[in-house]
């Protein structure tokens, strides 16, 4: 698998879990509801989306469903896509209603009891889905996941060169835009901190590169990489804030990984393949735009809409009431706000977003079974939200990216160790994230970005609109 394909897959996973995390942030970050059963709505979203669009006679499927919505709408232009959107919408509504059922009894509890009860309900329902084959095929999972417009891919514009030019240009523009934003942010960083961040990046990349060669170099390489991390920590200590040096370091490491690795394995053509990452030369006769990349675009669009939606919700008098509930529920209640109603709505909204993420996940992965919806997913999302900064929608994006890059991006380390260590390495990767979480909680308990600022759309002093 080319590096570009891995990047696309990683970004898709990050997008899906960002959407999931935005839902959790509405509940936990802004309203203070510790919903340890958040994955329940992700599962609900995935299964409902899949079952609503499942063909009548699906491969070795004995559960309920086969509503065959895409076939019903096959007469309509883009019926498959429309059916998919309808399925996502239905999934969001079902998840919202399910969270209403869960919420009405549990939201009267104080927060720690709510957490335990929500976890219990999610675990029970997960067990039911896993054990009852008549429901959604139990542990055998669901194949034949409807992937809208899949038959149209890979998209080719005629010839290999045209494909390369068009998709490549778009890829480069995307990279350039991200580079511009990062550069704009990093610009003005303390020179010494910048130098140390750059040196740290060189050390880490060189160390990991040496370790990757294997043999006697492993230990030395790891030591050099650790030295790089120490240099980075010192560099951050010298700067005004940690954000700019860290962003610079991350960008340099990314560039080294994304362009350097293919250079060593495939030469200049490898670098080119990484630069035009939205173009897959192996897809179809002339290469083209693959379905995986299309799903990534859809996922990113979903995240963009959900982000805007969450921002609008929290930057309003409504969001103000939500936060007052998080701070001290007695106050809004004493001021005449019906806090129970707000908590239920917060649960329903957050759960609906989780369901949309579930639907996207199913479409991306094309096969779902109960092992994908274990309680860990909830706690991963909590970790991501806390790393990025609770009550910060941008922090969810950052935290989720950091979490899943470390979680999935370090999987390649397996290649350099004997296969019998795979299990231990998997555990080590989770431990690495745990260490990162501890470091962040110790040095910066509010998370990388901290709580966001708010603006209800009215400039406070002038009494005018601030939009």
């Amino acid at each position: 698998m080319a590096l570009a394909d891995f990047l696309v897959s990683l970004l898709t996973v990050v997008s899906v879990y960002t959407l999931f995390g935005l839902g959790l942030n509405i509940k936990y970050g802004f309203t203070g509801l510790v919903d340890f059963g958040h994955v329940l709505y992700f599962m609900t979203g995935a299964y409902v989306t899949v079952v609503v669009t499942l063909p009548v006679a699906a491969t070795s499927y004995e559960g309920i469903g086969g509503f065959a919505l895409p076939q019903l709408l096959s007469g309509v232009p883009l019926g498959g896509l429309l059916a998919w959107f309808v399925a996502i919408f239905v999934a969001m509504v079902v998840a919202a209603l399910l969270s209403l059922l869960v919420g009405v009894p549990t939201l009267r509890l104080r927060e720690d009891y709510l957490a335990i009860t929500a976890l219990g309900i999610a675990t029970i329902l997960h067990t039911v889905v896993n054990d009852e084959r008549w429901l959604f095929n139990g542990p055998f999972g669901v194949r034949d996941v409807h992937q809208p417009l899949a038959e149209a891919f890979p998209v080719s514009l005629g010839s290999f060169l045209v494909n390369l030019a068009v998709f490549g240009l778009v890829s480069v523009l995307v990279l350039a835009y991200i580079g511009y934003r990062v550069g704009d942010y990093v610009y003005g960083v303390d020179l010494r901190a910048a130098a140390m961040a750059a040196a740290a990046a060189v050390l880490v990349v060189a160390g990991l590169g040496a370790a990757a060669l294997g043999g006697a170099l492993v230990l030395g390489g790891v030591l050099v990489a650790v030295a790089g991390v120490v240099v980075l920590a010192r560099g951050i200590g010298r700067a005004d804030g940690f954000g700019r040096p860290l962003a610079l370091f991350t960008a340099l490491v990314f560039v080294a990984w994304h362009f350097g690795t293919p250079f060593f394995t495939a030469g200049p053509s490898g670098v080119l393949a990484s630069a035009v990452w939205l173009f897959d030369p192996t897809a179809g006769a002339d290469g083209g735009f693959t379905y995986g990349r299309f799903v990534l675009l859809v996922a990113v669009s979903f995240v963009a809409v959900a982000y805007w939606w969450c921002e609008r919700t929290v930057n309003s008098p409504y969001g103000r009431v939500l936060r007052s509930i998080r701070e001290d529920e007695d106050v809004p209640e004493a001021l005449g706000k019906r806090t129970f109603r707000y908590k239920v709505q917060s649960m329903m909204f957050g759960s609906a977003l989780a369901a949309a993420a579930g639907g996207l996940w199913a479409t991306h992965i094309a096969f779902i079974d109960p092992t994908q919806f274990i309680a860990d997913i909830t706690f991963f999302a909590f970790t991501a939200v806390i790393i990025g900064g609770a009550a910060n929608n941008r922090g969810v994006v950052v935290g989720t990216a950091v979490f899943w890059t470390l979680h999935t991006g370090t999987r390649f380390l397996n290649d350099y160790f004997p296969t019998e260590y795979a299990t231990q390495l998997a555990a080590l990767r989770v431990m690495l994230i745990g260490v990162l979480l501890m470091v962040i909680l110790y040095y910066r308990s509010e998370g990388l970005l901290g709580e966001q600022t708010y603006d209800t759309g009215v400039a406070a002093e002038e009494g005018g609109r601030s939009e």
Binding site: T313, S316, P317, Y318, R320, S324, E333, A334, L335, T339
Partner: protein, 258 residues
Amino acid sequence: MVAVSDPILEVDGVEKYFGGITALDGASFDVESGITGLIGPNGAGKSTMFDCITGFRDPDGGSVWFRGEDVTGDSPSAVANRGVVRTFQIPHELPEMTVRENLALAPRDQRGESLVASWARGDGYYEDEQRAQRRAVEAAERFEISHVLDTPAGELSGGQRKLLELARALLTEPDLVLLDEPLAGVNPTLEERILDHIQTLAAEGYSFLFIEHDIDVIMEHCQEVIVMHQGRVLMRGEPEAVRTDDRVVDAYLGGDAE
């Protein structure tokens, strides 16, 4: 219920038990407009009474009437929306939110407080929020906390928290304000300021029921005093009558009231 001089609040035989402990043992009293003091030794049931009036606790017996309507067992928000707002003995500021946000939260029936309205932002959304923001600033100016408007409330001094709490309660435009020891832990200068505010507000038509221990404050500022002891109302009357009452003196000195 027919009362003599149209009381705002009527408490009728309210009982509250915590396990084997009797917190309120059939307490009854009326509150008329103006400033009413609620006094009594520690453990007399004053704060529990506040909780029962404002819906934070359900009474085990008896009833609470506000302006002739039964509010017994209503939720706190329902009671607040009828016009009874309370403060807490320990100030309940919202620490991570700014003073401005603490205050802008308070006005009732804001359009943007509904989920759908926060998305749609249709007619009146911005006007309504402007009004809430303006009123927050006015309240901060009136209570002399406008210089800390954009400070997180958790960083305020103890006295500023008391003022914030009072300002926030008044922004709901209540008929009756229940103040739970508004002067506890407040320095003498600030005490004077808070009492001035209460007097001015009473002159503007707000009514107060407040728990206080300083008998001089009660004498000077209250038209009526209710004395509670061991979950019951010992007596209700004018400050002068209360001060000279033997039963009250006994209760405070720990003697047997009966």
